[in-house]
Subunit: 263 residues, 2 copies
C-alpha cells in the first residue's frame, strides 16, 4: 500500500502569512500522496466583532449560531480554503479545496449536547468520510484541501472541528493506504518539560504513555491530543506525528517531532 | 455526443431563498449532464457596507480592490457556493463546488484597463477552462457548481464575471458534448416589447437578429447578451437559451424562452 500523509494545520499557522506560505511550499514538495486539513483562525472572530455578532463559548467551544455559521462558512470554506488552494497551485501542487458538502466528501450530524440548556447550534460531528471520492482524487494526483465545514445531507452546513476531520479522514483511508496522520503546532512535539524544546520525547507507544501519565510528565493540554492519537492507531492509522510546522519535511522523515506508534 | 446543459443563475435568484430552493430542486431533476454557474448577489455589497469598505464602480463594474476581493471570495466561493452545493446534495444531486483555483479549473489573468488611470483591481479575464477535469467529474456523475472566483496560477485569486465563466466553460466543452448554454433571468426571454411577457420571440438566428436590430426591436440591455450568445454559437456551442428561472425544465424541452441558434 502507498503511504498517505494527512497533515492538519491550525489557526496559529493560518494567521501568519509568512509561516503559511512557507508551510505550503514545503507541503507542495512532499512526494507521494497527501491531504491537507485546515482549521480556522482569528479572521472569523474578527469578522464577527466587526459585524457585531456576539460570540458565545461553552467549555472552550464556540457556539455556532446561524450568524456565526455564515461567517465560518465564508471564512473557512471560502477565504482560507481558496487562498490555500491558489497558493498550492502556484507551487505546482494541483490542489482542490473541499467542504464536506462537495461531492458529499464529509457527512455529519448536528451535535447533541449532554448538558441541559446547552445548544451547540450548528456544530457537526462526523458520520462518514467519502473515502472512495478522496481516493479517486488522489489517483488523479489531485490533492484534497479539507475545510472544517461539513453537511448533514439534508441541506444544512455544519461547523466541524478540524482535528476531528483529520482523524476521521485518516481512519477512513486506512483500508487503502498506510496512513500517517500529522498534527502541526507550535512546539517541537510532546515535551517532558513544556518550557524546554530540547526535552522532546521522540517516540511514544501505549505502554510508554501509561508510564508517562503515571509520572505526571504529560501536560494536561497534551492528553486529549494523545488520547485521540491512540484512538487513531486503534482504528488502523499507521502512525501519528506531532511537531512543529517549520519541520514538516523532517517530521515525515522521522527525524523530528514525536511519533505515536503501536508497540 | 451527450447533451451538456450549462446553466447560469445571477443575483436576482440567489438573493431570493424561495426562488433559489425551487430552482435547485428543478436543476437536480434535470436528466443528463449539467453544470451550474452562479454569480453573486446583494450579500457582498451589504457586507462591504457593514465592514465600511467603500465600493467603487467604473462603467457599471465594481472595482475589485484587495478588501473587496476578500469579501467576494468569502461570499461567492464560500457562503453562496457551499449553500448551493449542500441544497443540491439534499436533492440527491451529487454536486461539487469549485472556484477556478480548485484543480486549476479556470485560469485567468488580471484585466488590463484600456482607460488611462483606471485600474480594475483584482478582476480576472478567463484564459483557460480545464475541460478534461470537468469532463472527468461529469463522467463520475459529479455535478460542477462554478463560482465566479478564478486564479492566475501564481497564487492570486481574481473576481470574474459569471456570464463569462458560463460562456468560456460552454466553449471549452464543445469538443466533448452537444453544449446548450442557458441564461436564467427575470423575463420570459427576448421580448419584442420589454413590458409585455407575451411578446416573446421564441427563436432567433443570426439573420433574424440583424433584422430585429435594424427594426430597433431588441432592447439595448439585451444586445450584449445576444452578441455573446452568437459568439458562443460561433465557437461551437449548439444552442443558447435565455428565459425565466421558474421555467428551467420547459426551457430545456424547448417550450419556453428564446432559443438562439444557427441558421
Amino acid at each position: 500500500m502507498d503511504n498517505l500523509y494527512i497533515i492538519k494545520i491550525g489557526g496559529n499557522i493560518i494567521d501568519d502569512e509568512g509561516r503559511l506560505s512557507s508551510l505550503l511550499r514545503n507541503f507542495a514538495s512532499i512526494k507521494g500522496q497527501k491531504i491537507l486539513v485546515h482549521g480556522g483562525g482569528k479572521m472569523a472572530t474578527r469578522m464577527a466583532e466587526q459585524l457585531n455578532i456576539p460570540q458565545q463559548m461553552v467549555e472552550g467551544r464556540r457556539i455556532t449560531d446561524a450568524e456565526t455559521l455564515k461567517i465560518v462558512t465564508m471564512v473557512y470554506a471560502g477565504y482560507i480554503n481558496k487562498n490555500i488552494v491558489a497558493k498550492l497551485q502556484s507551487n505546482n501542487c494541483n490542489a482542490i479545496g473541499l467542504s464536506g458538502a462537495d461531492a458529499d466528501a464529509i457527512r455529519s450530524h448536528r451535535r447533541i449536547s449532554s448538558l441541559e440548556n446547552v445548544d451547540y447550534g450548528f456544530a457537526g460531528d462526523v458520520d462518514n468520510v467519502n473515502h472512495n471520492f478522496i481516493h479517486y482524487l488522489l489517483q488523479q494526483e489531485i490533492i484534497p484541501v479539507l475545510s472544517p465545514i461539513t453537511h448533514d445531507g439534508k441541506g444544512q452546513l455544519l461547523n466541524t472541528n478540524a482535528d476531528t476531520i483529520a482523524q476521521e479522514t485518516a481512519k477512513s483511508m486506512c483500508s487503502m493506504y498506510n496512513v500517517v496522520l500529522i498534527y502541526l503546532f507550535e512546539k517541537e512535539g510532546v515535551l517532558k518539560d513544556v518550557d524546554d524544546d530540547s526535552s522532546l520525547i521522540s517516540k511514544i507507544t501505549k505502554s510508554d504513555y501509561i508510564k508517562l501519565r503515571q509520572q505526571h510528565i504529560i501536560s494536561v493540554g497534551m492528553i486529549p491530543k494523545l488520547d485521540n492519537a491512540f484512538a487513531a492507531l486503534d482504528s488502523g492509522v499507521n502512525k501519528v506525528i506531532i511537531g512543529k510546522a517549520e519541520k514538516i519535511l523532517q517530521l515525515i522523515e522521522g527525524v523530528a517531532g514525536t511519533s505515536i506508534v503501536n508497540e
